[in-house]
Subunit: 193 residues, 4 copies
DNA sequence: GATGAATGAGCATTCATTCAT
DNA sequence: TATGAATGAATGCTCATTCAT
């Protein structure tokens, strides 16, 4: 369907509100107020509250899986591609803080709505594939369980929304570099800037 | 007030239900049904729904902070103590899967109820202290940001509830050892048992 | 039924609580707490909440009607007997402040529970009878409507629980004398003692 | 907020229901049914049950204090102004029987909600002021306690809702005249019409 | 497209009452 | 007689959703 003009505002507002109060804890009235619209008017844009969650989540989830697909199947040595994945993950996070936070809070790894789990599974599988290549190539220390390593990486990345302020002292580059270092078992000096 | 006999059942049921549906998404009727009790009867044990969340959360939070306090201030070299912290974290998780999951989902790192954030902050501070000692002693690769390293570790551990089955192929010992290895930058072979 | 030992305490507590919160706004738990008893234990004394209201109300209502019956049918000129009725009314009020307040608040003149209205009707009828005699004898100014005069008197008396503190500056004697004076159209000086 | 169209119906229904069952004894479902609306729809008009009580009470309370303020500070000899106050009081009662009954039942002279007691106090003070002038001018028999006289008058007036039917034999004019006569100690013949 | 009143199901909480101990 | 857990109905209030204007 062709989304009318204020669609973006609606989704952005939903992201903000859902992040603050959780999906179940948010009311559409709060979303409407955030957009500057009346409750009933929201239904010119959505057909249900779940619809809104889907829209919020699709934004980072689609970008993340699309880019991961490209990186995972693309050229370059495994270590480099793993770093790219981390960089991409952090970028998406920075660009869509609210949306990512909602996605992680409400959907990722939870037994909720099969339609949303698909993103989750594909993304984790793509990352795991690169991790496996890294183990095979020696870029990741041998002996590491691939899935455990993958989920450790994702855990570290996904936890960022709980504590990290992208505008704070520790910027995106440091975060990217160090998290990649940690997983790669590298003690290379941090590159800033 | 002296908590009567079925108190433990009530909290256990709440943990189960809250984990499944989220706190805001759970109804006390669901909790009551899980205990095998009528909705109104719950109020012989609690005085509000929040009360129940507090009870659920206090269990792992108190144990975790208490043990971390002991480990952080105790003897042993930093690497060893960091491993102990990881082991302890995984143990608490295994023993209280539902409660920990609820804690992480509803409270950890979220702008919710100051009374609950205190646990969070203390625990992270204790872990960070040991991480700093690890960096100072060379057990953790130099150049790592202490807070970022701490949160990477906690992220990895806290993400476990989203994907890890303690009864599955990869057992608690492997998880403990590998997550510690990753953070310590160690590529030592996994020690089991 | 033979009322067990703490019956009086229970009724007294009920009067206090009902006066404070209204009957519908009071819970038996509050009453129980006021007695120093557990909620369930109340049912050793009462068989329902209404039962308690009946008990509370019966105390002043029975005394009031009994004494009014005696005064109304007794000897003495109408003016004197009207004064006696006022004095008796004020006495009952002072002796049973809570109970009277509850009676007036919950029952008097309200379309509630026929069983309680009976007291009301009889008492008003007795007072009206004396008022009529007063009009006939000239003690009450002629031209006055008997029922209106009666209800004016009762209104004045019944409103006392809303503002009058028996222990305050204006004592029971002044109140008794002046209210009687007003209704009798007398401007005689206040007799105290 | 601009009160929408059925606001008046809602308040009128609330007055009716509250009068019948008392505030605490009334449910919003009863009010909704009286309006011909569903329970939840009420919340398009109010934000709480208390809100509704406030609305019901404000109607007679504001009119009463406003008119009493005018009369108390206006011209005319005290006796005349006291009669005007009585007339006004009876008029307000006749025009807003339910609302006045609720006000008297739930608020007047009760230790409830400070926001409502203010009306009460101001009104009584205004009436007392005129009573004092009446005593000073000789219109009210000397020797009368001003506050007691005021409260006797108000008690008589406020008790009307408990027994008086404005459409019955004794009409508003008779009630007005006689209650004023009684307080003024006047035995002037009743003027009807 | 916007409004906002209406709906009706659902929820946390209260409370009179029962009953086994 | 006292206790206090259990019951189950009721209540104030919320909220996703609908719809006439």
């Amino acid at each position: 369907m062709a989304r009318p003009s204020r669609w973006d505002d609606v989704v952005r507002a939903a992201g903000k509100v859902f992040r603050r109060n959780g999906f179940a804890g948010s009311s559409l009235e709060q979303v409407a107020e955030e957009v500057g619209m009346w409750k009933g008017s929201l239904y010119n844009y959505i057909s249900s509250k779940d619809d809104l969650l889907t829209a919020v989540i699709a934004i980072p989830a689609e970008r993340l899986t699309a880019e991961a697909r490209e990186i995972a199947t693309g050229p370059g040595d495994p270590a480099e591609r793993l770093r790219e994945i981390v960089r991409c993950h952090v970028d998406v996070l920075v660009d869509n803080y609210d949306f990512v936070a909602v996605y992680l809070q409400e959907v990722a790894g939870r037994d909720i709505g099969a339609q949303w789990r698909a993103y989750d599974r594909e993304y984790a599988a793509l990352v795991e594939q690169v991790v496996r290549e890294g183990i095979a190539s020696g870029a990741v220390p041998s002996g590491r369980d691939p899935r455990l390593t993958t989920m450790t990486l994702l855990g570290a990345l996904n936890w960022l929304t709980r504590w990290w302020d992208p505008a704070g002292d520790v910027g995106p580059d440091v975060v990217t570099a160090q998290i990649a270092d940690i997983v790669l078992g590298s003690s290379a000096p941090v590159r800033t800037g």
